[in-house]
Symmetry: C2
Subunit: 132 residues, 2 copies
């Protein structure tokens, strides 16, 4: 059976994907893939997601240059969640978040309040300016 | 605003949750929470999920004893994904997966085939026998 057929795609034909930096172990992003996105990720060795908001394939870094090199692709026990071990390119340290932060998970619950606890490493305006 | 109100619950009233071991950095599990599950997780300091298959709250470890102590709760940039930093109790090393493995993400794509690359640490039959 094809490896893509073994994935249990949800009712929208998607699977949740966790991106974890291989070297730091940091979970930097969460996104979705459809079948074509996972096939392209395997083919390119770079993360290609399905953007639900834009309803199109999204080669991570296509605008920002912050591509994710994929070292490993893992599947969970229920075959319905994917974990990528990646290197986040384009900046040092890596910027995975569109806010210019290292990780998308920069809000921490502290005494009942979500606090931003990670710095903006680069102004998002300058990250995305190159697309204009 | 209440911290729970800031979470963007999906059309089913759920949010995806990633459980990462604080000390090892390993991503060990992926599950879902509804509002009540997240409230209970905050209250207990232990992970409480929403089981979609059983359509009920699921205090992780309630049957296996493999509870997840929650050290940190993070929210992503879109307010629609939660990351838990946990300690997996009940066995050393921690067993998060119902198959008796450390992590649910034990299948790795190798030359187009999903290979199981993590050992079963404990027979699931013996993990869940205590509930009988």
């Amino acid at each position: 059976m094809n490896s893509l057929d073994q994935v249990k795609w949800d009712r929208d034909g998607l699977v949740p994907v966790i991106a974890q930096e291989r070297d730091s172990g940091d979970v930097v992003m969460f996104a979705w893939m459809n079948r074509e996105a996972l096939a392209l990720t395997i083919e390119k060795g770079q993360a290609v997601y399905w953007s639900r908001s834009r309803a199109r394939l999204w080669h991570k870094g296509e605008e920002s240059g912050h591509v994710q090199q994929v070292h490993e692709i893992r599947l969970d026990c229920d075959n319905d969640v994917v974990l990528l071990k990646i290197t986040q390119h384009g900046h040092q340290p890596g910027i995975a978040c569109h806010t210019g932060r290292h990780s998308c998970f920069y809000q921490r619950l502290e005494n009942g309040v979500w606090q931003s606890v990670e710095p903006v490493l680069k102004d998002p305006a300058s990250i995305y300016a190159q697309q204009a």
